[in-house]
């Protein structure tokens, strides 16, 4: 079965890619399987300078999900380009670089740095990290700021820009519209929902940062709803994510309007989850009456 999908700037052999932050820079998972199997790889967020992230504990399990507050720990964009990307050059899998920052200028610097590498085929603009004090989600919850940062980063880059949206907003369509009008080539949705857990013994939040981002199967219905709502209003390619653990979940995202999907938290539960989903996908598509991935995209939208 034809699993390939075409997105702006990206020809994917299948629609499955590991989500940013859940796969490092690929090296750890390359020990488990051949990364050529993947549709694409979204690498961990890069900032202009190295960031050490938040204090620990940084994760806590929740019902069918988890909270994390890593805090964008990364060695800085120049280090990533010099020391992490070369190991990925042996694969023909497209690399999508996640671009983060505290200020618009920092986002611009990171995007510019990636411009000089031929390896990065698209950027994912991270305006939705809930776990940093400055920047991050503040850009993703204000349509004006979201639009500004999209415009400015787009101007610094010659590869397609996918803007990663935060679900922590009242009206997702408003933000999606703002970034689409600002020149985003696609959307990536959704990032984590903010949440908290409190330890009954210590009476304190489990995560040192107090608040973390909720991911995993628990948030899947929120992701499906938001992708569906955006697709109803805006014709723009979407990389869907939020709690995917199996090929049936992938089909649900495709029906909602995603053109491809990213798998995040499930990598922790099963490091082989991406290749396993890729292997199961043809049978699941066939079972529900589809002859290709492209055939299923957006089919959850009934013309009323």
């Amino acid at each position: 079965m034809n699993l390939s999908v075409s997105l702006p700037g990206l020809k994917l052999k299948n629609p499955i890619m590991p989500a940013s932050g859940c796969f490092g820079f690929g090296a750890e998972y390359s020990k488990f399987y051949d990364l050529n199997q993947l549709g694409a790889i979204i690498i961990k967020a890069a900032t202009a300078e190295a960031r050490y992230g938040n204090p620990t504990p940084r994760v806590a399990e929740t019902s069918a999900g988890m909270l994390n507050a890593i805090g964008l720990q990364n060695p800085g964009v120049d280090n990533i380009i010099a020391n992490e990307l070369p190991a990925l050059s042996v694969y023909d899998t497209p690399i999508i670089a996640n671009v983060a920052g505290s200020t618009i200028e920092e986002y611009e610097m990171v995007a510019k740095a990636f411009k000089n590498t031929e390896q990065v085929e698209a950027l994912e603009l991270n305006i939705s990290c809930p776990n940093v004090k400055e920047g991050g989600v503040q850009f993703g919850t204000d349509p004006y700021l979201a639009s500004e940062v999209t415009k400015r980063v787009k101007a610094q880059s010659d590869v397609p820009l996918y803007v990663k949206l935060s679900p922590n907003v009242t009206n997702i369509v408003e933000i999606a519209n703002a970034v689409a009008k600002a020149g985003a080539d696609g959307l990536s949705m959704i990032n984590t929902l903010t949440g908290m857990r409190i330890d009954l013994q210590t009476r304190k939040p489990i995560i040192a940062n107090k608040i973390g981002g909720l991911s995993g199967p628990a948030i899947k219905p929120v992701a499906i709803r938001m992708i569906y709502q955006v697709k109803q209003q805006i014709d723009i390619p979407i990389i869907g994510m939020g709690g995917i653990t199996c090929a049936e979940d992938v089909l649900e995202f495709l029906l909602a309007g995603a053109n491809a999907v990213a798998v995040g938290t499930a990598n922790f539960e099963n490091p082989f989850i991406c290749p396993e989903i890729i292997a199961e996908l043809p049978e699941v598509l066939k079972k529900y009456g589809f002859s290709s991935v492209e055939d299923a995209i957006g089919k959850g939208h009934i013309n009323e």
Binding site: K31, G53, T56, V59, A60, N68, G216, A266, P271
Partner: protein
Amino acid sequence: MIRKANLTIVHHEKIAESTFLLHVLSEASTLDIKPGQFIHIKIGQDHSHVLRRPISIADVDHTNKIIKIIFKTVGEGTSYLSQQKVGGKIDALLPCGSSYPIDNLTMDHALLIGGGIGVPPLYYLAKQLVEKGVSVTTILGFQTASHVFFEQEFKALGDVYVATNDGSYGHSGFVTDVYHAVKPSFDYYFSCGPTPMLKGITTDLKEKQGYISLEERMGCGVGACFACVIPSVNGGYKKICQQGPVFDASEVILA
């Protein structure tokens, strides 16, 4: 190299209050498992628990390909594990993390200091040290008498001192109190236990060279997610699941 294994429980025993010993059978050879490493266990059959639980390896019987793990029930994950029966399966990533670097060290005498659920990995270490002809002195600390385990097992390998916080068994107080009372001579020390204990030990023994094993809430367990980190003396963080859990005591900063 880390693999995903389907292990079979062949022995299940409660060895102290809330403390369980499981023997699990591996299909693959266990020869690559080194003391200090851990296995990362999936909890449940569905996706209700999305995070695996890191459990240290207490011993390995290479002839029969059996891995022995000891854990204390402290939450949902460990409670689930404690309820598994002989014949049941465990989905685990193994072997994970770094090990006590005993192959690179020359020594006559090792001091092992374990606290609570930090005791298990020291047993596999003690056995390997004794096999190499190293004398082993062990100091074990527990909260109270009902929590004490493996005293006899360590006794078969060398001198053992046990301390309980409440004085209900052995020496009264902390492992560091025992150390100062006994003053054993040694070339290297190896320790695993709660961070306050490790902090006390590394402070009191700062003139000596030693290795410590750390515990932290983990995500992926393979070094990809940056959830479990410890500040490094060289700035930045080290990843506990991948660069640890065993570190040279002088390379990390304990809180």
